[in-house]
Amino acid sequence: MRTRKWTIVVTIYVMGGLIGAVAWWALVQALSPIFRPVEGGAFYGAVSASVLLWAAVMYLLHRLPASVKKRVVVFMTFVAGLFYTLEFYLPEKSAIFFWRPSHTNPFTPMLDPVGAATSVIFGFTFFLGAFSLSLVHGKHIAARRPGYYNSIAFFVAFAAMAAFGLWQAYAPKAILVHDHWGLRNLSVRQVYDYLFISTYVPLGAALFSVLAFYMATAAFRAFRVRSAEAGFMMVAAFICMLGQVPLGMWVTHHLPMTGPLSHLRTEAIANWILGVFSMAGLRAVGFGILVGGLAMSLRLWLNLERGAFFEQEL
């Protein structure tokens, strides 16, 4: 009974996938004339039409019953995964593509439009991130929660970076202030550079460098030799740390750079630890991660994954 059920499931997947892939291929072939660069008014017309079409599709999807919505998501996930699988595993050129005069993989030319569509979807994730941040900080300000002024700072910084970023991109030679407030010919590009290079970059670097102070405290409080394993780890860490800096290299600088004694130099021992012991462990971890990732991908692709999101009503 169980075998029969699985046979049916696999048959449905294979048949559905093949029909889906062929349908997709036909759809892209049919729509390929519209995947052409357009300029000026045609461009804005195409953008407006796309937005309207997208709104209509989203409206229709929202009107569908939850069970149908779920099936649509499952089907789209499977077809998208199948497209990349077929494009990747099928040969670039083969006699099996007998209906094509060049005998080339029919999925390869579709990489461009599908890649462009993927980029658009990725673009929406940026929009979603900005929207989500605005929503969270907007609520903080509206409710006057403690520290709400930080949320105001967020909106000011966000608006300034977005405005000057777009402005300098579309009008790089624009002058913001000609001769006012003691400023002469202050360009938009200069303001953007001030915001990005002179403010955002040092702030980012400062934030990351704070880690060094926490690492130093953690080293003092947590790195204890409580066992032989911890002792080995500490010795290895000492050598690797010293092997990366001139201080450690100076300790063994009297040893020759070549010959058998060169292997006793701090940097040589550090590289040996990294290249032999550490690498063996990392390979083992890497294998585990990749096998787990493969299993997870298959579960997502074939809709076998179960959990908070996957069993939730859409």
Partner: protein, 281 residues
């Protein structure tokens, strides 16, 4: 340890680290680096790129790691300028990366008599992740389309003859993340295009399995890697200047670990600390 002593010990540690780092940034000490084989291999790989091919410098880093990835990017860009190699700055992980690479290249180009568009180009940040990289490999102008100044990349003289990944001589991934995996899986794995990796210090060990398997041609590990490269190039940049400060910070951390263990052993002898925990440290 009481709450007060914990409070003060933390502040003393932070102060000691700040002094140790700042002192060596203010006092000029000449650092001499031993150039490791993985760093030398990147140098040789750049030298070996033929004139007909382009080098891709993938800036997948953000301002947070400018301390390490900044000097790495500068050293690699300077090498390309010095050796007269055509290159393209590119980004697909962090939107800030190509802009930071652009600032470095613009700062250095005059010294070597190089010009944007003729000797190098910036493809900007491209979203789309792995599908974009796969499309890029088969059709570079079709995927990238425009450079950072929104001009068609085909209009730039440096792009002459560059159509697919077969026209790329080397990809250098500069990053604090493991974005290298994308290049190894989909570019080296399929087309055998040489890949080099410049990463932050903590990511260095993870690169060694790829390097050992010859899937990447070389590795620059953190600030030390950048300093090694500067030494190879024969100039003293930010990395060599910062190495004494990093050495002194490392020395402070080592001293703190030793001190922490002395205090721990003393407390254990007095019966104030646990003997052994399962799982080591």
């Amino acid at each position: 340890m009481g709450r007060d002593s914990q409070f003060w010990s933390r502040r003393v540690i932070w102060l000691a680290l700040a002094i140790a780092t700042a002192a060596f940034l203010l006092v000029k000490v000449k650092a001499v680096m031993y150039v490791s084989k993985p760093a030398r291999d990147i140098y040789d790989a750049i030298e070996a790129v033929p004139a007909s091919k382009l080098i891709v410098i993938s800036c997948s880093w953000a301002p947070g790691t400018i301390g390490e990835n900044g000097p790495q990017t500068e050293a690699l860009i300077r090498h390309c300028f010095k050796a007269g190699k055509r290159f393209a700055i590119f980004g697909f992980v962090d939107p800030a990366g190509p802009g930071l690479g652009q600032a470095i290249a613009e700062r250095c180009q005059a010294q070597y008599g190089r010009r944007y568009g003729r000797d190098w180009v910036n493809w900007g940040f491209n979203i789309g992740g792995i599908p974009m990289i796969r499309g890029w490999a088969k059709n570079i102008p079709g995927t990238i389309k425009r450079d950072i100044f929104r001009k068609p990349i085909t209009s730039r003289p440096v792009m002459a003859g560059i159509k697919t990944v077969r026209d790329i001589g080397l990809v250098i991934e500069i990053t604090p993340s493991l974005s290298l995996q994308t290049w190894v899986d989909f570019i080296y794995g399929i087309y055998r295009t040489p890949i080099a990796y410049a990463c932050t210090g903590v990511m260095g060990p993870e690169a060694f399995p790829f390097y050992d398997a010859h899937q990447i041609v070389g590795v620059l590990k953190g600030l030390a890697g950048a300093a090694e490269y500067e030494q190879l190039m024969g100039y003293e940049g930010d990395a060599l200047k910062r190495m004494p400060a990093q050495s002194s910070a490392h020395a402070v951390v080592i001293a703190l670990i030793v001190l922490g263990n002395i205090l721990y052993l003393r407390a254990r002898r007095r019966g104030e600390a646990p003997e052994r925990r399962l799982g080591g440290s």
